[in-house]
């Protein structure tokens, strides 16, 4: 009985980790720009596919491939911001949402063109038998995903709270005019937020591909779930997004395990709607923070 529950839990934590990373990515951009980037999922997909390209197609060593992948995807984030976000400086909400959607379509088109529609795979970071814990099985790669996710969270937390650059980025979303007045280069902060978000997504993609494979159109599904995670934790609250991601993953798994696997995808959405309707600031946000935002 317990090992059953544990197995469900572990399955939930595995997928939850990816949702967390996506949610975190959303938050970084949101924190700097008040925009929700609906192309976030594509960064994850690129992480996986580009990593395959460097490590399996070009046969480069593991660490080099990781670094190159991160650089490439970060660059894509940069280009996206410069070409499509920056020109729309004072546009309204609708336009912003639409342009990120359009970018996600273009990215998907490029990925489909270069990689085709097949799924891709590469070996897990460490090979070996799955580990048994109290009767439940956990793949080694899952531990890597968890470890990397937690490390990323830690680094992001440090970045935003302990470094000048991070604090400057937070200032931009709250009040760009005030930020400019104190000498923060808002435009550059926005650019940085996109690069950072892209890198985060890429890391998630690199880590999860050995478990779930990666194809060109996995983006939107990931984006919606990661999105729910960000809302659940309270838009703008990075810790909240991470916890939200894990909660969604675990609840999905438990629903599939104990109730009915057909409806498990609805769980994330229902919870998100419930939060939006009853506590829009999210589980960890506050009402005050809602009114401060531009959108």
């Amino acid at each position: 009985m317990f090992s059953l529950f544990l197995q469900f839990l572990l399955s939930g934590i595995t997928v939850g980790a990816v949702y967390s990373l996506v949610g975190l990515g959303f938050n970084i951009i949101y924190n700097a720009t008040s925009i929700i980037n609906l192309a976030q999922g594509e960064f994850v997909v690129m992480g996986g596919l580009v990593m395959w390209f460097f490590s399996q197609s070009l046969h480069m060593p593991f660490f080099l491939s990781v670094i190159l992948t991160i650089l490439v995807v970060g660059l894509v984030g940069l280009i996206m911001e410069r070409l499509t976000i920056n020109p729309l400086k004072n546009a309204d909400l609708l336009l912003m949402i639409m342009i990120t959607v359009a970018v996600s379509i273009v990215l998907r088109g490029i990925l489909m063109f270069k990689f085709g529609k097949d799924p891709y795979n590469y070996p897990p970071f460490t090979t070996g038998e799955p580990i048994m814990i109290f009767g439940a099985v956990i793949q080694q790669q899952v531990l890597w995903v968890l470890g990397i996710t937690l490390a990323c969270i830690g680094l992001i937390f440090l970045f935003f709270n302990k470094t000048m650059l991070g604090k400057a980025m937070s200032a931009c979303a709250v009040n760009p005019t005030a930020a400019k007045l104190v000498g923060i280069n808002v435009s550059r902060m926005i650019m940085l937020s996109f690069v950072l978000s892209a890198i985060l997504g890429a890391i998630g993609g690199i880590a999860i591909t050995p478990i779930s494979l990666m194809e060109y159109d996995k983006g939107p599904a990931l984006a919606v779930k990661g999105f729910c995670a960000a809302i659940m934790g309270g838009l703008g609250n990075s810790m909240g997004a991470v916890i939200g991601g894990f909660i969604i993953g675990i609840l999905e798994s438990l629903t599939a395990g104990y109730i009915h696997s057909g409806f498990k995808d609805a769980i994330a959405l229902i919870i998100m709607l419930a939060i939006l309707f009853f506590k829009p600031a999210g589980l960890f946000g506050s009402k005050a923070s809602l009114s401060v935002r531009k959108f």
Partner: protein, 386 residues
């Protein structure tokens, strides 16, 4: 002298013109065959090999001189895995391109949407989708045929084998799209006929990353075997999860398993996975006198040479559909009614990629569970199970 010169010139010009006219007359009218495939969208794993196959076949036929001298022109439209788009594609092929027959669509939904249109336009349709509703009730499907085995046939093949092995309790795990849904319905409906009880009925989405929860439940419910019904990456994920969990009960896959890519991606986890597959993937294990062997071999070799990847079982459906129409054209020429009649009446023991066809007035699909071979994966390749 000048008059003679002019005379010679006139003769030359007239000869040249006669020559050109004769040449134009020799170039025969192309036969236009339309095709609707889901080249993009969620069903693109079907549409892409299907499109590649018909283009390759058309080229091969034209290089060999066409059909009775007539070049064949295949016009492929993409329905983007959507019924509304399939309707538009069909109308374009019929109205603008004036095709003599339509091959496809790739999916059941699109096929169903297109049926009233081809019936109204009295044009033969050879679908490559699996749904039973496409060719039944056959008295309402006068113009409609299909070259994909019924999902039911694949299920029957599995259950017949399980009966032989004495398996009485199974757990099924299916994907929540049309492909998985058709399989699930067939699995649930046919189980009692073979003395089998379905003790667990689990589902997962097309983009899910982990199915250990569902597999664990299946084992806990007391299943003696797991049947997975999906195509795409989830087949591989289920296989890997099954392997890691060391469930101890055999894993059966659907006929969508028949792609080398799946074996590559799953690696050693695929060992001992059983599935009913079209003979395309095991042609080299067939006896030399098997009626399908030579076509299977040529198809796979040619496709690999041109597209650098294997065609997979779904490309084979398009192969059969196209060649049926070509065969009809060869024998009766570009007459829609005659083509339809030919396919219905003259296709007997006709070896194709997907199986050996026996079309008739009562059966516009022509295949049953004997189109499949039960296979098992051993050391990264398939072997035929006896």
């Amino acid at each position: 002298m000048k008059v003679k010169g002019k005379c010679i010139l006139k003769v030359l010009v007239v000869s040249l013109m006669l020559f050109l006219v004769a040449k134009a007359g020799i170039a025969k009218e192309p036969y236009k065959i339309g095709a609707i495939f889901s080249v993009t969208g969620p069903a693109s794993f079907l549409g892409e090999p299907e499109k590649n196959t018909v283009i390759m076949l058309a080229d091969q036929i034209n290089k060999a001189g066409g059909i009775n001298g007539h070049p064949v022109e295949v016009i492929v439209e993409d329905d983007k895995s959507d019924e509304g788009q399939a309707v538009l594609a069909a109308k374009k092929l019929l109205d603008k391109d004036k095709v003599i027959a339509i091959i496809g669509p790739s999916i059941t939904g699109s096929s169903m949407a297109v049926i009233p249109i081809v019936q109204g336009a009295k044009t033969p349709l050879v679908s490559v989708a699996a749904g039973a509703g496409i060719t039944t009730p056959v008295n309402e499907r006068y113009w409609v045929f299909k070259t994909a085995q019924y999902d039911v046939s694949a299920v029957i093949a599995i259950y017949k084998y399980m009966q032989k092995k004495g398996i009485k309790k199974v757990g099924i795990i299916t994907i929540t799209n049309a492909f998985g849904d058709q399989g699930r319905k067939a699995l649930l409906e046919l189980a009692p006929k073979y003395g089998i009880t379905v003790v667990a009925d689990e589902r997962y989405g097309p983009k899910d990353a982990d199915m250990t929860t569902q597999l664990t439940k299946i084992k806990a419910a007391g299943a003696q075997a797991v049947i997975n019904w999906s195509v795409g990456p989830t087949q591989v994920i289920v296989t890997k999860n099954w392997h890691d969990l060391k469930l101890g009960i055999p894993l059966y896959q659907s006929h969508g398993w028949g792609s080398k890519k799946n074996l590559e991606l799953a690696g050693p986890a695929a060992e001992d996975v059983i599935a009913p597959l079209g003979r395309l993937v095991v042609w080299d294990k067939l006896p030399d006198n098997h009626p399908q062997k030579s076509i299977l071999k040529k198809y796979e070799t040619d496709y690999k040479e041109r597209y650098k990847t294997e065609p997979g079982t779904f490309g084979g459906h398009a192969y059969d559909a196209f060649m049926l129409v070509v065969d009809a054209l060869k024998h009766v020429g570009p007459d829609k009614q005659k083509i339809r009649d030919y396919i219905e009446n003259n296709i007997k023991n006709w070896p194709g990629i997907s199986g050996i066809y026996n079309m008739s007035k009562e059966d516009h699909c022509g295949m049953d569970d004997t189109a499949f071979e039960m296979t098992i994966v051993k050391k990264g390749d398939w072997e035929i199970l006896k």
